[in-house]
Symmetry: C2
Subunit: 133 residues, 2 copies
């Protein structure tokens, strides 16, 4: 039987400060907060995905669920809606989020831009279609 | 202007061995490989998402793109298609992938199961709908 996933539903980042994380992802990027537990996590909706930001020191000690944690500067990419790439760049500027790099892919057909979150994670916004069907 | 992302398109894990990663994600879970560069990365399609597995020692030294890396046991969750949760558990068993935990959510309406990849990352398969609309 050939089974397929519909998508990666939960993507996780490990963060230090929930207030700073909320200010950036909710205040800056406009992602709705869908859950928060002080000292442990804050969760955001990102279209059909959820972004789960955990305090690694807490989830490393998990006993009810399998422990998980990470350190470093992780990378994730958000996909924007068709035609809204430039509007996102404008939104980043208005939120005083610096674009650290911009790239083009597939012979210039698709653009993407990179920026950091408060923990130094490397975020990217990509135009739809750049990963194919 | 209220902008929304369609989804998180790229989710990244940091891995040690591309062959072991290929054997697990392609051989075990059946994810199609969409890119591979020896010593640097292997990429998989996972429904409408892509799973990018990087050798952190390589991407940490990146110069053309912003460097990124992580160590630890990261967590991600795949969403299965409606009605296929039990078939996925069967597929895991057939691939000799141990389910380390199973959980139910939203008063038992949704199930999920957890397992490890070769790097100890904590993977989960969730039933559709568990994160709401």
């Amino acid at each position: 039987m050939s089974l397929q996933f519909s998508q990666i539903k939960e993507t996780c980042l490990y963060v230090k400060d929930l207030d700073a994380t909320a200010a950036f992802y909710q205040g800056g990027l406009g992602l709705p907060v869908i859950g928060r537990v002080e000292g442990r996590h804050i969760f955001f909706r990102a279209g059909s995905s959820v972004l789960l930001c955990f305090i690694a020191a807490a989830t490393r000690q998990e006993t009810n669920l399998p422990p998980h944690y990470a350190t470093g500067r992780q990378h994730i990419a958000f996909e924007c809606l068709p035609g809204e790439y430039e509007a996102w760049k404008h939104k980043l500027r208005q939120a005083h989020i610096d674009i650290i790099h911009e790239a083009s892919w597939n012979k210039g057909r698709f653009r993407s831009c990179y920026f950091h979150d408060p923990d130094g994670h490397v975020l990217e916004i990509v135009e739809p279609g750049m990963w194919g069907p």
